[in-house]
Subunit: 458 residues, 2 copies
């Protein structure tokens, strides 16, 4: 058995692993990165990029259906095979390829392929053939979709975000299980591409906005277009020329429908459970979760660090990369710790209308004295676009007028979100942001108006 003895081992060559690698490889040659399965990040293969490619196709299909309002009479046919081919072609040739080129440049002796697990502290076995001894180990082993056992009878029809981008034609109908970001983005895209789509929630919560009015607005707006059961339980599934789903709504009524496919998007779980972390001396608490320090991304008392999806917090892409670097920084300073400077939180859902959360959520601010500036998402430009659904809320610190956070549901919300992110990063007040020029007519006028709305309430 080959034994490799290094200073650093990084388990996983995804976004977080590469973030860690970019930092450590500048300082030392004594490192390996261990990859299980083909290279290419979750983002490029099954996440951000293919989903945005599919959504863009769906937007085009939707535009055709809505163009008559503008005086353009049109008809369109979705060629499902072509939509999917284009999506995969762009994904593979542009985004995955770019990633593979980067990995290609990494020296061969820094790369090991196979699934890693601990056999002792600082001691890993990779596949069946290689042992790695490393003083410091970074867990960037990602996550996998979670599939409840209730779907076992229809498993051959079940898709997850890991498999949906490999289908060769669009199904006629799909049940989407979940109302989180993946469920909503893909569910709406499939619907707009002509797939008969039904979405099933669990707790009634939809999307990520936390203010009760924003939750309500999200459900109302998306229900105008999509068939959504927000609250209930999938009780039973069975196969009979389709996947039958029996769903009991919270208020008691049962709905039973049959679908070509079932997209299970109820969450992802960390792959850390496959690492035999106990063998490294890390004890699991009673729920089976491991406890690491979220500030330093390290397991106190162990030279083990964690980053990206492996943390089970499911950071978005830029956070996963930042985390890889933070974990690397702490590994390099071990046993000292380096306090990470985290960026302002920013989350965007690429639905239509989009959702965005910037800085602190309403839920996080509930106990503070805040002013809520609030408006419908309907600037003059939004009227021009005929895209006036949604709502914007900004949260100001009552005493200072400082912008603490915001929740947005609306067309082009992603751009207002970035302006707010810059303002919050630099602790600006509403008044300071209002010093900037705002072009007429632009979506950004809504930001001006909602900040003025908040100012007037102070």
């Amino acid at each position: 058995m080959k034994i490799i003895d290094v200073e650093y081992a990084i388990i996983g060559a995804g976004t977080a692993g590469l973030g860690a690698y970019s930092k450590i490889s500048r300082k030392t040659d004594s490192l390996v990165m261990i990859q299980d399965g083909p290279y290419g990040t979750t983002c490029a293969r099954v996440g951000c990029m293919p989903s945005k490619l599919l959504i863009t196709a769906a937007d085009h299909a939707h535009d055709i259906e809505t163009s008559e309002f503008f005086g353009i009479e049109s008809t369109g046919t979705v060629n499902g095979r072509k939509v999917l081919e284009r999506m995969r072609r762009e994904r593979d040739h542009r985004f995955v390829a770019r990633n593979l080129q980067y990995v290609e440049k990494i020296p061969a002796h820094h790369k090991i392929e196979g699934r890693a697990r601990f056999i002792a502290p600082g001691h890993l076995i990779v596949g069946d053939g290689v042992e790695v001894k490393a003083k410091k180990i970074i867990l960037a082993c990602g996550s996998r979709p979670e599939i409840s056992e209730v779907f076992n009878p229809v498993l051959s029809r079940v898709l997850t975000s890991d498999t949906i981008f490999e289908i060769t034609d669009l199904p006629r109908s799909v049940a989407v299980i979940g109302l989180g970001v993946i469920a909503l983005e893909l569910g709406q895209a499939l619907h707009r591409l002509g797939v008969k789509t039904t979405l099933y929630g669990r707790s009634g919560k939809i999307g990520g906005l936390t203010h009760p009015d924003m939750q309500q607005e999200t459900l109302k707006t998306l229900s105008n277009e999509l068939e959504i059961y927000p609250s209930g339980t999938v009780e039973r599934t069975w196969e009979d020329e389709g996947a039958w789903i029996q769903y009991r709504q919270s208020h008691g009524e049962t709905v039973t429908k049959v679908f070509d496919r079932v997209l299970v998007a109820t969450g992802r779980v960390s792959n850390v459970d496959r690492l035999d972390l106990e063998a490294a001396g890390v004890s699991s608490d009673q729920h089976g979760n491991r406890s690491f320090d979220p500030d330093t991304l390290s397991y106190p008392g162990h030279p083990i660090f964690i980053a990206g999806d492996a943390t089970d917090v499911l950071p978005v892409w830029h956070e996963a990369f930042d985390e890889g670097r933070i974990a690397a920084d702490n590994a390099m300073h071990y046993p000292d710790t380096v306090d990470a400077k985290r960026r302002t939180p920013l989350m965007i859902y690429f639905t239509d209308p989009q959702m965005a959360i910037i800085g602190k959520t309403y839920q996080e601010l509930q106990s503070q004295e805040i002013i809520v500036g609030e408006l419908p998402f309907a600037s003059p430009r939004h009227i021009v676009w005929n895209k006036v659904d949604g709502r914007i809320q900004v949260y100001l610190e009552a005493r200072t007028g400082k912008i603490l956070g915001a929740e947005l549901l609306g067309y082009q919300a992603e751009h207002l979100a970035h302006i707010l992110a810059l303002a919050i990063t630099h602790q600006m007040t509403a008044e300071q942001v209002l010093e900037m020029p705002i072009y007429h007519p632009s979506a950004e006028e809504l930001l001006r108006d909602v900040l003025e709305n908040a100012q007037r309430k102070r």
Copy 2:
């Protein structure tokens, strides 16, 4: 003859006039606003709003033509009458109506209708029936399109931005004279709506970007779609079952074509020349122009102030409104002056790709030591959209890294422009902006990348 004696007279009830009114009316009842022609701003009637409505329709038509790339097979027919009806309906019921409602609320004794001209210092005659004596007078009388005499033979086929939005059906062909913002926005929109369009420039300059590479990129990109003659002179026009245009290109060759319509968009001139300003004691210089102080918007030595399009500088909407307020401020403090705090310059062209200038232009910075960060307009998101034309430049102060200005040509440039406008307003360095989170994949990643590109050159 009725004589009205007031402290303040505002000539013009457009954006600048209303800006001035909003400020003065809070302090005194002794004012009149004099409007020539129907109420409603240039912006709402013939500017920002109808042009954006037309562009949105054109974008929809264009989307249909480009959707096959995404796997959506579609065909569309532009119903010209419906496009124009929808444009006018939205314009009149939403934007003009909103303006008229605002004017409606202004007390009747503050409003006079008719064309004003000076008969003596502080003394106006309005139409034939009313004299107004005012201690301080604000000129917010707007501008009108300029039409060269060479178009006299085809005048019945000439359109300007003041008349184009009134046509009931789209012409088959149009010659667009000019390569400024109105010419490019409307020329491209008409082309996308199926009108055979040719654009004629004069000096070779196209759009507003000032860096030679950006000029070149603009011409190259727009010429891929549009027929553009950038440099030459319209020598002769005549009518013969169409408007014939004989145009001599700078390099000598002559092009002669016939069109249904001619859109003259070579600029607007101030209406100040209609006011008999000499009668107010303001002397004209040898070129016939009046000289006012651009900081205080006042004519030194006279209680006369000027704002908006009337200045001949053609401010964009938010500047026109700001200027009305600045002029009002100076009128109220006369003979003292109030130094105006101007916002960071921000100009956006709603072409596809869009153009934007923020802060100082390259031309203005040429003599300073600057770093130019520069990239093609092709973030991962732009690749997803299949919209990768264009280029971005940011200008940093070499010594400090402070962002001084930027020029953009690209899809969704308007949003990056606003982030840069906030950063420049608060004198941020590239490094400070790079502390913000940037979502993946978003157009804003391009901003991150170009700032990093500039940083590496320091």
